[in-house]
């Protein structure tokens, strides 16, 4: 019974081991390494021979293992030990290989392609590794950076690339002395092989690993952030200016609207008294004065609304021929020019400008009308109008030989309700409207006068093209014009 069982076990082991050997030889070659597979094959062969030996032992048949005599059995644990040892060795190598692959993937696919520049310094301050972004930020090649000492790199290579090189270099050198994390900003100047940009460099010590005691530097491109901050600052300044203008506007408007209102109130009372006394002639005069005050108030309000609309309305912009604009403006003022007997000369050689024709006619009309008003007692009144090509803009002027402007008023005349002569007809809004229109056309306006009695020249420019990048700011400057609420 026991003998049969043992013989059966021997057969069973021989059969399954032979099958396993077949599987192994047939192509089981992907799980283990080459050496482990060979040892496993040997282990299976020896196990089969051991089974045969057991079987033969019970039948008294010589076994193939007999020449090895009694030490054949020793092969079994020895092969097991070898197999497991080789597996571990191959497994360690494979792990190492995978670790290297992971590291390579990390550096090549992640650190190399990140937008932030990364620079690693060893404990002695030598640059041991930089990524692609550092090359792009600095315009230097990797071989020019790696291996060098950071002090030499900053002083000789990087310092010339930045704005405020001395201050930046001192801050960068301090990074290596600082124990904690530290940040430094710099402005990289544009060059042949690099773009202008703002960088924030953050350095921190390396506490462990191969480069313990060294530093890792991160360079972040903060150009967009800087530009956004500058843009915000500009907008804030514009907002502050507009707020001040609005406050001044409200004060001035309330003051100037009050004058005709007081006139109306006053003469309404007098009118009542005259009517009560039956003095109809006086009452008629009172009514005429009330009407004049109401008309002035209406004109003031209309012009204020016009001023408020500038920059808010959707004007149709198109190429505008300035010679035609000047001719139209003069046509509108023909009767007044004739009345004053002014000689008008036009020099319009400028090319067409991009803008709103109606508004530009308004500019010239206001300026010519202003000249006509302030011709004074000039016996030989003359007005000269011009539009000439300048550098990237058109320069226009309206010159007269009238009463001129004292230099202390040249900065005030474009302000709301400012009039040189308070008795002169007009509301004091015309030049403010002119300034606003010129500014919405991307231009600027100024006045020149050699003093009282020496005539006046109003100069203004108009852009040949609208600069797209400044459109937003200009719109922001122009749109919430003082009193804009009145237009709504």
């Amino acid at each position: 019974m026991a003998q049969n069982l043992i013989i059966g076990l021997a057969w069973l082991s021989i059969a399954v081991l032979a099958g396993a050997l077949g599987v192994l030889i047939a192509g089981w070659n992907r799980v283990l390494g080459r050496d482990a597979r060979r040892l496993l094959t040997g282990l299976l062969v020896i196990s089969i021979l051991h089974g045969i030996s057991n079987w033969g032992e019970w039948h008294g048949i010589p076994s193939p293992t007999d020449p090895l005599e009694d030490y054949f059995l020793l092969l079994l644990p020895a092969l097991w030990g070898s197999f497991l040892y080789v597996f571990l060795r191959e497994h360690s190598r494979a792990e190492l290989h995978r670790s290297e692959e992971r590291y390579r993937s990390l550096t090549d696919d992640v650190l190399e392609t990140t937008a932030a520049g990364i620079c690693i310094l060893d404990s002695l301050g030598h640059v041991v590794w930089v990524n692609q972004a550092v090359e792009e930020h600095s315009g230097l090649k990797r071989h020019e950076i790696v291996g060098g000492h950071y002090v030499g790199l900053i002083e000789e290579r990087l310092k010339p690339l930045v704005d405020d090189p001395s201050g930046w270099a001192a801050e960068m050198l301090a990074i290596f002395e600082h124990e904690g994390e530290i940040g430094v900003e710099c402005h990289v100047l544009p060059g042949a092989d690099r773009q202008e940009r703002w960088l924030e460099c953050r350095g921190q010590p390396i506490h462990s690993g191969l480069y313990a005691g060294g530093r890792i530097l991160h360079f972040y491109d903060i150009t967009e952030r800087k530009r956004a901050a500058e843009h915000r600052e500009r907008l804030l300044k514009v907002l502050e200016t507009q707020k001040a203008e609005l406050e001044r506007f409200v004060y001035t408007v309330s003051h100037d609207l009050k004058a005709p209102l007081i006139t109306i109130q006053g003469f309404a009372g007098i009118l009542q008294e005259n009517l009560a006394r039956g003095e109809l002639g006086e009452a008629q005069t009172d009514l005429e004065r009330i009407e004049r005050a109401a008309n002035r108030m209406e004109k003031l309000l209309e012009e204020l609304l016009d001023l408020a609309r500038i920059g808010r309305e959707n004007i149709a912009e198109a190429p505008v021929d300035l010679a035609g604009v000047i001719a139209e403006a003069l046509e509108g003022l023909r009767s007044e020019i004739d009345r004053r007997g002014a000689a008008v000369t036009v020099h319009a050689t400028a090319p067409a400008v991009w803008g709103c024709r109606t508004r530009l006619v308004e500019v010239f009309q206001n300026l010519i009308d202003n000249s006509l008003k302030y011709l004074g007692n000039q016996l030989d009144p003359a007005i000269e109008i011009g539009a000439e090509p300048g550098e990237n803009e058109v320069v226009c002027f309206v010159r007269d030989n009238g009463i001129g402007i004292d230099s202390k008023y040249v900065n005030k005349i474009f302000e709301l309700f400012e009039q040189l002569d308070p008795h002169c007809a007009g509301t004091g809004i015309g030049l403010t409207i002119v300034k606003r229109i010129v500014e919405t056309h991307g231009g600027r306006i100024w006045v020149e006068s050699e003093g009282a009695g020496h005539g006046t020249t109003f100069w203004f420019t108009l852009g040949n093209r609208r600069p797209p990048e400044e459109t937003e700011v200009q719109d922001a400057q122009a749109s919430p014009s003082p009193g804009a609420e009145l237009a709504d």
Binding site: A2, L5, I6, L9, A10, L12, S13, I14, V16, L17, G19, A20, V23, L24, W28, R30, V31, L32, G33, A36, L40, L43, L44, S47, H50, G51, N54, E69, D70, Y71, L73, L74, L76, P77, A78, W80, G81, L84, Y85, F87, L88, E90, H91, S92, A94
Partner: protein, 93 residues
């Protein structure tokens, strides 16, 4: 009567066993490691019974010895077969 070759084989097997125990963490990465190591441990048991067979209860230990050899062979063969079926899951090397 203990034979010298059987005793020497047991010593070698125990040496390998010490190696296995001390490297058990790494050997866990072997696919279906428990089956493979079970085959080895049963073999060690068989070798131990071989030695014991020379000292006491010859028939019993002889039976156990051959049973362990057979079981070890079957476990080893099953391990090879299972691992070969799931080879695509591991791709260890």
């Amino acid at each position: 009567m203990v034979q010298q070759n059987e005793f020497l084989t047991l010593l070698v097997a125990l040496g390998v066993l010490v190696f296995v125990v001390s490297n058990r963490q790494g050997l866990r990465d072997l696919p279906r490691s428990s089956l493979c190591l079970a085959a080895f441990l049963v073999l060690v048991a068989g070798l131990a019974f071989t030695v014991l067979e020379g000292l006491v209860w010859q028939d019993v230990f002889n039976m156990l010895e051959h049973f362990c050899y057979g079981a070890s062979s079957v476990l080893l063969a099953v391990w090879v077969w299972l691992v070969s079926r799931g080879a695509s899951q591991w791709h260890r090397t």
